[in-house]
Each structure stands twice: as structure tokens, then as C-alpha cells.
Symmetry: C2
Subunit: 224 residues, 2 copies
Amino acid sequence: MYVTIPTVTAAQSAFTPLATTLPQTAEARLKPGAYLYYEGDDVEWLYQVTSGVLRLTRLLADGRRQVIAFGYPGDIVGFPSADIHHTDCEALTEVRLQPFRRSALESGEGDPKLHNALLQAALREISGMQDHFMMLGRKSASEKLASFLCVLTERVGVDLGAYRSVTLPMSRSDIADFLGLTTETVSRTFTQLRKSKIIAIDNIHTIIVQRPTALLGLSLGDRD
Amino acid sequence: MYVTIPTVTAAQSAFTPLATTLPQTAEARLKPGAYLYYEGDDVEWLYQVTSGVLRLTRLLADGRRQVIAFGYPGDIVGFPSADIHHTDCEALTEVRLQPFRRSALESGEGDPKLHNALLQAALREISGMQDHFMMLGRKSASEKLASFLCVLTERVGVDLGAYRSVTLPMSRSDIADFLGLTTETVSRTFTQLRKSKIIAIDNIHTIIVQRPTALLGLSLGDRD
DNA sequence: GTAGCTCTGTTACAAATTGATACAAAAACC
DNA sequence: GGTTTTTGTATCAATTTGTAACAGAGCTAC
């Protein structure tokens, strides 16, 4: 899951199971904190998230960390490069996954439809990452956090009548490492959004969006 | 072309023409300033850069710009998502290109080897972009510019005996928009590198790397 | 060729944003 | 329930940006 232009991203990423005519491999399950794979591991499987949330990270030698993506239902994770994984992948919640053999992407023998679905997912991944470049390189702290909350709200938010609620299973430092900020800046920006009554913080992992239009405006760069 | 860990990136990206048993489509040529495609165009072709340099950009509604990548010899550009291009692509120099029909990537009929080569290029693209996330999100201005110069030096630098020279066909603002900085910061950082005798600036588009090891150190986060 | 113009790049200084540090409060974990 | 970890907030510092002035390269017209 990547973030820049909330409405566009949200629309295309609804959960659709990948089409295949073959019998599916049995579903995999992960408990919170469990790792699906590590950077450097050989790639044997790709996975489509069925339920729950994954976190993909990369580390620099000096300990700096970048969260590459969060894996939400419908997302495909585990694309190989030179046969190996290039991120760590950890479950943030209970996660259910549909595994696909790497050969389903790379050889296409057996099931051309599945092959094409995985290829299209890889191409969508490239486009989504390009969006995220814009976010990391050119957006301010408040634009970044507003974009993040907008996309999550549209994609996995719950309708509460007047408002909308969204659950954030990740920590503040996960959000910071995803958006290229420090945890303090994330915290400060949450507080600003709360004080301007755009959001309410029900508890640390539950945000109520009170003024979605204002949040969208902020994400697009309207001045506070 | 993406940038984070100089040595790794440089090694894998030497120019290798994609293997195909079919007759090749005639080479395409672009003059400096010519556009290969625009954001929103239908994708009919992918291209491998044979010689010259391309610049891929995305724009935000308010005019902010992100340079997504520079296309150097060996790079594949034009991966579609939802059938359309998601960046503008302009030639910075005279460019020669080998076109491949989009169907060579997507259907694979005709030439399985070419299909696989294009797929592997797409997967390398994903990994390269993940590297670049780290750069945009977690590196300082001097680390960014040092990384950029390191990668370019290794990939397209010219050996001058003791030193190494590299040509930068792009403008300072292109570099800024690639690294998520302002042109002033890029300019100031060039000056710092010059004053500390790590590089010399022969002319605006030609850099001499005098102390490659110091440059590599800077790119990895060693304190000035 | 060259005078004048435009665009790009450099530099200095002020301002703003973000980051670092410290500590209190809240939450999560045994 | 006590300990550890995470989060929030404040203050201060550092980095980066914004502004502005100027230098210089390249282009055009003459």
C-alpha cells in the first residue's frame, strides 16, 4: 500500500482475489510479530494478503529504517529480484495469506490467467511506488500524514454515520519510517490535526476522521 | 536508474541488450528536449535505452515535480500500469532506443525469452525503487548527492588515471527533483564537496571525482 | 563579432521546518 | 501490580528552505 493521491489509489486497490483455475495452495496464517520472510531469503512464494496487515521494511547499515510498504488485504507481497527478497516482512496483526508459487509469476506455465494477474500486480506496484516517491521527496510532514490517513480511511475505514473511523495497527515509529519523518514529528502532526478538529484520537490505534474534506485538502497541499 | 547503495546498484546495471530470437523493431532516436511519451498516454511500446539519457518525471497539481528516474543505457522505460504511462519521459541528450511491443511483456507469445527478460527488468525496477525510498526518506542532503555521484561515477564514469570524470547531462533542478531537495541545496552541497576537495567541477556538466573513497564514505553516512 | 537578453547556477543571509533531547504520561507486557 | 516500552509534549538545536542579489553561460538579433 502506497500513498499520494488518495482518491485514485483507494479506488483501484479493493480486495479482489486473484483469478486461477488451479486448486489453490492452502491459506497461510501469521500471528502478530511473526516474520513472513527476511531480506536476503530465497523467494519461493508470493502472497496475496487475505486479511490483516503486514509491514515491509529495509534497514541501512547504521540502523536507519525505511518502511517500504504496508500490506493490506488485496495487496501482493514478495516480488523477487535476482531470486531473493529485498525487504523484511512482519505481521502487525493476525494475517491470513494466499500463497502463490514464484513460478506462477515467472514461468506462467500452468495458469496464464494467474500469471497475468501477478504481472499486472507487479506493474501496479511500480506505479504505486512512483506515487510514493512524490510523497517522500516533495511533501511536507502534514501533507504526508494527511495523505496517509486519507488513503487508509477510504480503503479500510469504517462508516460511523457522520464520521469515519480507521484503525492503525502500526506504531508511530512505523508511520514515521514509512513517511520519512521522526516519531516526534508524527506525534506533533497528529496533535495539530486533533487540535484543529480534523480528527479525534479515540485511542492510539483508532482515529476518527471528523472533517474528511479538510483532511483531503491538507493532503493535497492546501495551507493550514 | 535509482540510487542508494552505490556498489551494489552499479554492478547489476551494466548495459546488456535484451535477448530475443525475433527480428528487432528498428531503433528509435530522440533529440535533446524531445518527449518519448507523456503521463496518461496509452502504452504501446517499452524501450531499452541504447545510448543517451532520459528523464522520467511526475507532476503534482500545484507544480511540484518529482524526477522518478533517469534512463541510462541498459535501462528499460515505459512499464504500463492500467494500460497507460504514469510519467512524462524526455530526452536529455541524443538518445537511441530499442522498442519492444507492450505485448512482449504482457502476453509473452512470440518470444518467451524476451518476455522473461522484460519481466525480470520490471522486478529489478521494484527493487531499485525500494532502494530509492531509503534515499528519499532517510538520507541527508550530502548523503543524497554523494550517493548520486557515486552511482553515476561507477556506472558511466570515465577513468582519468588518478581521478575519474562523470558527465551530468541533467540540470541542477533535475538533480534536486530527483533527490527531494531544492536547487539551492544541491548547489550548496556541490560547493561543499568542491571545497573539501572530494570533487572538482570542471564545468557545470562535468565532475571530476578526486577522492572516491571519501565520496563513498559520505554517501554511507560518515560524518563530514 | 558583439551587445543585450534570458536562463541557470551560485552565494549569503534570514526564516521555517524538522530533528534531537529530555522527561512525563500512558499503554503494553510479564 | 510492577516493569518495560511506547507515546506525547516541551524546549532547544540543526538542517534545510526561502529570498534575494549577483555572476556567468548561452542565445538572439543586429
